[in-house]
């Protein structure tokens, strides 16, 4: 099996089979990752560039380590978000990187759709590492991988996504991916932070955290950003936390064996209490490990696909 597209731009546009295939491949990669000698030749001779228009620590490092563990040459480019409008156009930057023989470009960009634009104009495979409010597919894949690992399945599970859904690319990618694999997904958050008509995406929508948490198998907390409060979308972080913060008491509403995920970095005491973050049902650190495995799998599958193409 091969992935159909040269790029991974989002989970909205790929099939359940492709998602499953990436997750299965990631299992093998995790074994490599957990072995003493973290080195495989899968990407030997491949060149990978991360092109980040936004700050990132964990996603970028995760991709970079995934590339290095598999023997690829990698390079990083950081572009200040402020120069997007006035600097070199994304297409021109992309073509330059392409011309240097890059096999994969991993892009993070503050504007939704930027990876799609790039992908249209380069021969390299493009991986979306987060675009605006649109998608962050590798984050959702690692969430799904973690769920599979802990729960053995995704189909039929009740997954509660809680927080700022409106601005969250993580939420969108998870909604597409999880619903494709048969999960029963709900989103809960303040009404000003829910995107319009999100119910049409096949999710239940709640304005209280209690309804969202009820009988949940999986809870995905989202980072609440302080700038949203400055824009007047909710009054104070204190009030947010009062109505939507996840603490031990509220956790009782979920199933006894519910697991807790969060894309990080976490605002301790705001969206999650410290006792929840550090509790035994939280798999936030394991998510980070799985992120490397999922990205290794994806890099392998996309470059294998392009090698196969060039042979034909």
């Amino acid at each position: 099996m091969y992935l159909k597209s040269k790029d991974l731009l989002g989970l909205k546009d790929i099939t359940a089979e492709e998602i499953q295939y990436i997750l299965d491949t990631a299992k093998t990669m995790k074994m490599i990752l957990e072995s003493k000698n973290k080195k495989t030749p899968h990407l030997a001779g491949k060149s990978i560039v991360t092109l980040f228009y936004e700050n990132s620590t964990r996603t970028r490092l995760s991709f970079e380590l995934a590339s290095k563990y598999m023997g690829a040459s990698s390079a990083n480019i950081s572009v200040a978000a402020s120069s997007v409008a006035k600097g070199e156009s994304l297409i021109d930057t992309g073509k330059t990187i392409d011309a240097m023989g890059t096999d994969v470009i991993i892009i993070r960009h503050p504007m939704s759709g930027a990876p799609h634009l790039l992908a249209k104009h380069v021969n390299a495979s493009v991986i979306n590492a987060g675009d605006g409010m649109n998608e962050h597919p590798t984050q959702a894949l690692l969430d799904m991988f973690t769920i599979m690992e802990k729960k053995g399945r995704i189909k039929g599970l009740k997954v509660a996504i809680i927080g700022d859904i409106y601005h969250s690319r993580v939420a969108r990618s998870n909604i597409w991916g999880l619903t494709k694999l048969g999960a029963d997904v709900s989103v809960s958050g303040p009404s000003t932070l829910l995107p319009p008509e999100i119910d049409k995406a096949g999710v239940r929508v709640y304005n209280t955290i209690q309804e969202g948490l009820l009988d949940a198998d999986v809870i995905i907390g989202l980072r609440i950003q302080k700038e949203r409060q400055q824009k007047g979308l909710f009054p104070t972080l204190r009030e947010y936390s009062r109505f939507f913060g996840l603490d031990d008491k509220r956790l009782l509403l979920a199933k006894e064996d519910a697991i807790i995920l969060h894309p990080g970095p976490v605002n301790r005491g705001i969206e999650l209490s410290s006792s929840v973050i550090d509790g035994e049902r939280s798999y936030i650190n394991e998510q980070v490990t799985n992120g490397v495995a999922v990205r290794m799998a994806l890099l392998y599958l996309l470059t294998r696909r392009s090698s196969n193409e060039s042979i034909n």
Binding site: L90, M111, G113, N134, R172, P195, P196, K200
Partner: protein, 428 residues
């Protein structure tokens, strides 16, 4: 110069012509309309099987000249208009410099006279520099030749400024065209707010951003008892507000554009920047309401909002792509395909919306086929199907979301001031 148009189906609302007639044109004027007219020495156009209509009048376009000639200029813009069957067009003042003084009006008029393929009528600014603060010299603009005033592209956000503008403009009997948008609500949005903006992760512009301003302007016009023209209506509630205002006797006229009765926000899928326009493409229920508003007379005219942009301004991230689409060369086929063929509008109604009403709103002596008038005539085949190809456009810009669409209806001849400018679909 003598031209005889033979055997075409003439539709004219003012003179109530609706049937097969011959039209004889001499020295730029229509001199006779009748049957079995003959012309020995001159240009005879066989219009059998086609509709002979008054030349289309566009009350809303952007020619980008002066200042943005890399997008369009008066020559290319009027070529494009002629190809679309437009014989008179009114261009918006968001040029550089802005059309807020007599000298820019003079420049446009003289350049149009020299390079133009169709009649060009400048629209002046409501406020100096389109800033929404101080009134432009509206009297001077009117006497220099402005046919209307508008800050199009920008709303006049301050209600007090808008009130004064309506009051002051009424003294000069010049139409005020309002771009209705509450900028606090549209707040950097880039497409319609709804399911489509949600799944693309793009910031939405709520329909309320338009409707609140439509309501405000209707209230001001009613309060002052002065006329107002609402530009590019795109939402169901805007139509409803205007319909109610008309019932109350408010002197409001309204326009929509072909894209608002042809496309929904689903056209933005895949981050298609060609579908990025302001006001944004809305949903099916809005499209249906726009069509209903056209059919029942709530919406008086169809204007193009022809808004050319260079490819480099569209081949970018959706957030920073320019708003707008070219419109002259697809207006008629879209109207035929989406309004006339499905039975929403008769040809008579179409002539009202594209010829007579816009002419009235701009105070032009156009939009009709009548003996003694200047011969501005467009001849169309309403049955011919074509695949739209933007590379054939005469506009400098190709930013149309309709590339590749199969549409019915084609402009065969455009006659401006008695001169055949487009013959057999070819610009002369």
């Amino acid at each position: 110069m003598k031209v005889l148009i033979k055997n075409g189906h003439v539709v004219d609302v003012k003179t109530k012509l609706d049937g097969i007639y011959d039209i004889f044109i001499e020295n730029g004027k229509i001199v006779e309309i009748g049957h079995d007219l003959e012309l020995i020495n001159g240009d005879v156009i066989d219009a059998s099987g086609m509709y002979v209509l008054p030349g289309f009048v566009d009350a809303h376009c952007h020619l980008r000249d002066p200042g943005f000639e890399y997008k369009e200029d008066i020559e290319s813009g009027t070529m494009s208009a002629a190809m679309g069957g437009f014989t008179s067009i009114a261009c918006m003042p968001n040029t550089n410099p802005v059309i807020d003084n007599e000298s820019v009006i003079r420049y446009i008029k003289s350049k149009a006279k020299q390079d133009g393929f169709v009649n060009v009528y400048p629209i002046g600014a409501i406020t100096k520099g389109l800033k929404g603060e101080e009134l432009a010299e509206i009297g001077e603009l009117k006497f220099a030749g402005a046919v209307a005033i508008s800050d199009d592209g920008n709303p006049v956000s301050n209600s007090s400024v808008m009130k004064k503008a309506l009051q002051y403009a009424s003294m000069f009997d010049i139409t005020v065209i309002s771009h209705c948008e509450d900028r606090e609500l549209s707040d950097e949005g880039v497409m319609n707010e709804g399911y489509q903006s949600t799944i693309l992760g793009l910031k939405g512009i709520p329909t309320a951003a338009e409707e609140i301003m439509v309501a405000r302007d209707l209230i001001l016009a009613e309060y002052l008892k002065v006329p107002i023209h609402i530009a590019h209506v795109s939402t169901r509630l805007s139509v409803e507000l205007i319909r109610n205002a008309k019932k109350r006797g408010v002197k409001v006229t309204a326009e929509t554009c072909p894209h608002y009765f042809s496309l929904t926000d689903e056209a933005c899928s895949g981050f298609n920047t060609l579908a990025k326009v302001n006001p944004p493409l809305r949903t099916r229920q809005d499209v249906d309401a726009i069509i209903e508003g056209l059919a029942d007379g709530t919406i008086d005219i169809i204007a193009t909002d022809h808004a050319p942009h260079h490819a480099d301004e569209k081949d970018v991230e959706f957030n920073i792509a320019a708003f707008g689409m070219v419109g002259f060369e697809t207006a008629l086929p879209l109207a035929i395909t989406n309004l006339v063929k499905p039975g929403h509008l008769t040809m008579n109604q179409l002539v009202e919306k594209m010829c007579l009403n816009p002419s009235k709103i701009l105070g032009l002596n156009k939009g009709t086929i009548e003996v003694g008038r200047t011969a501005d005539i467009t001849i169309v085949d309403i049955n011919e199907e074509n695949i739209i190809n933007v590379n054939n456009f005469k506009s400098k810009s190709k930013n149309s979301p309709f590339d590749g669409f199969k549409l019915t209806g084609a402009v065969y001849y455009t006659i401006v001031n008695g001169n055949v400018v487009v013959r057999e679909k070819v610009l002369l």
